[in-house]
């Protein structure tokens, strides 16, 4: 112990955290590669500076064309907004219901392997395609209008909530399931007395979030003709009716804002 002060003054040890890529050569090589790629892209992308130059005044004309917002057709706008909200509500409700069985099928700790693969496949397949692509399909099948939009949002919402449900179930502590199984309870009693109470708050939270997301998405799917305020918006753009576009954009902002407030209010209440 007496030698310690002496050793302390003699030489201080150094310590450095290990770098993620240990060899400095590799590190600098990768850095150089990224820089080289950026330069290469800038040269090969063939950015047409002329187009950018002519686009700027056009943007100016468009935005100035939006002022003042056209308030003479509020009824038309309100109809669109209402349709969007109805689409979002209906889709959320159906999504919530459909997501439960699919989510349970997608939980590996609860169902036999083959069922699990079917459940997961449904979730993965429906998640693969963006809402817009699904909406195009449904518009082709069922024609223009809110039906296609609602179906799109049901598919997307179901798969989103189902994925959350499946993962929440898989994250349940195995001991909880064992304890209820050990009492002689079967599959459905296990669902009632262990799975349901433990995942319910998250499930409701995710569903409310999805309602909020559906309101946003309902404005988007309209652009490919699947109903709602988005369809009205797309129509105004194609007619260069920018004053009315502006009114609709403001309405969408208000709508999304409103959805956000409602959903965060409900979610804080759930906690």
């Amino acid at each position: 112990m007496s030698s310690l002060p002496a050793a302390r003054t003699a030489e201080l040890p150094t310590w450095e955290r290990d770098k993620i890529i240990k060899s400095p050569g590799t590190r600098y090589f990768l850095l150089a590669l990224i820089v080289f790629y950026l330069i290469l892209t800038a040269f090969t992308l063939e950015i047409d500076w002329g187009r950018i130059a002519s686009g700027i005044p056009r943007a100016g004309r468009m935005f100035s064309g939006m002022i003042p917002p056209d308030l003479s057709r509020l009824q038309l706008m309100l109809n669109g907004v209402l349709e969007s909200v109805q689409m979002a509500l209906a889709a959320s409700l159906f999504g919530m219901i459909l997501a439960v069985p699919i989510g349970i099928c997608g939980a590996s700790n609860l169902v036999p392997r083959p069922v699990y693969f079917v459940g997961r496949s449904i979730i993965i397949l429906t998640r693969t395609f963006h809402e817009i692509i699904i909406a195009i399909f449904f518009v082709k099948i069922f024609g223009f209008g809110p039906l296609a939009g609602v179906l799109t949002l049901i598919v997307a919402g179901t798969s989103f909530i189902a994925k959350m449900v499946a993962e929440d179930i898989e994250n349940l502590p195995p001991g909880h399931l064992d304890a209820i199984r050990a009492t002689g309870a079967g599959f459905f009693k296990l669902l009632l007395y262990c799975v349901a109470p433990q995942i319910l708050p998250r499930y409701l939270g995710v569903s409310i979030y999805r309602l909020d997301a559906n309101i946003r998405h309902s404005t988007v799917v309209g652009i490919v003709g699947a109903g709602g305020i988005g369809q009205t918006l797309a129509a105004t753009f194609s007619r260069y009716d920018y004053n009315f576009s502006c009114t609709i954009l403001i309405a969408i902002v208000a709508l999304v804002f409103f959805g956000e407030i409602v959903s965060s209010w409900i979610r804080s209440y759930l906690r």
Partner: protein
């Protein structure tokens, strides 16, 4: 009552977890299973109610071989076997009462279970058991509002309300402080004796095992290396189970002391429970 015949368990990877384990429990007694971590204690106890499927052998409860039962028969059989866990494994978002009553799930219809309509005698039993384990008045608390000791009491009530023919207890005290551990062991052992329920307890703590059990089974590397009355536990036996160590401070010295403790326990349980 319970007989294990040549139970073996091999996991897909790794060595044999259990190797030809056989023993009989033919009277209502408390059997402590001791052994080092990884000796197969948890696997052994789970092979009995088939939360883990044994690779080989028979488990006879009465006349029935549990290993050969199909799914439906196994569910019926599990109603007769109560289980208590180290991590309590209560469903945290359910109330204490729901957790206790879940021990009766095997006996009610799905619809009644959903509406929480358990038979009145189950509810009476639940109230009685809550009082017995020292948790009167907590029936509406959520399980996650309880302390560790209190949760384990609920776990005990859930297992005992099954009116089981066999109690399996997996490390009941490993997450508890020493005082609470003794209280929990005392409640367990008293209930087992009162109800004449044969009880298997996996336990790390050798002196707790010795104090509270009638019989000790020593497990090492998946094999039974000791099986005898708790009083026969000595340094030589412990070395056989755990390996070389100075055991002189572990083994119970004063039998009178622990016996009087058991007697006193009867009165203490209710008073101490509120604190635990």
């Amino acid at each position: 009552m319970l007989e294990l015949k040549n139970i073996s368990k091999e996991y897909p990877k790794g060595p044999k977890a259990l190797d030809n384990v056989s023993f009989r429990v033919d009277k209502p007694q408390v059997v402590a299973i001791i052994g080092p971590s990884g000796a197969g204690k948890s696997t052994l106890i789970r092979c009995i109610n088939r939360l883990v499927e044994p690779s080989n052998g028979q488990v006879l409860l009465g006349e029935t071989d549990i290993v050969s039962l199909n799914k439906k028969e196994l569910r019926k059989m599990r109603r007769r076997i109560g289980m208590i866990f180290q991590e309590y494994n209560l469903v945290e978002r359910l109330t204490v009462m729901e957790n206790v009553l879940s021990g009766r799930l095997g006996y009610v219809s799905l619809w009644k279970a959903y509406r929480r309509k358990f038979p009145p005698q189950d509810i009476r039993d639940a109230f009685e058991l809550l009082e017995r384990v020292g948790l009167s008045g907590t029936q509406n608390s959520r399980a996650d509002a309880l302390s560790g000791g209190q949760r384990q009491r609920v776990g005990i009530a859930r297992a005992v309300i099954q009116a089981p023919d066999l109690l399996l207890v997996d490390e009941p005290t490993a997450s508890l402080d020493p005082k609470t551990s003794r209280q929990i062991m005392r409640i367990l052992v008293e209930l087992a004796h009162e109800r004449h329920t044969p009880t298997l307890i996996n336990i790390h703590d050798v002196s707790l095992a010795q104090t509270f059990s009638d019989r000790i089974i020593g497990l090492c590397d998946g094999s039974v290396v000791f099986d005898g009355p708790s009083s026969q536990l000595n340094a030589e036996v412990l070395t056989r189970i755990y390996g070389e160590e100075d055991w002189s401070t572990t083994i119970r010295k004063d039998d009178d002391e622990s016996r009087s403790k058991q007697e006193r326990g009867q009165k203490d349980v209710r008073g101490e429970a509120a604190a635990g």
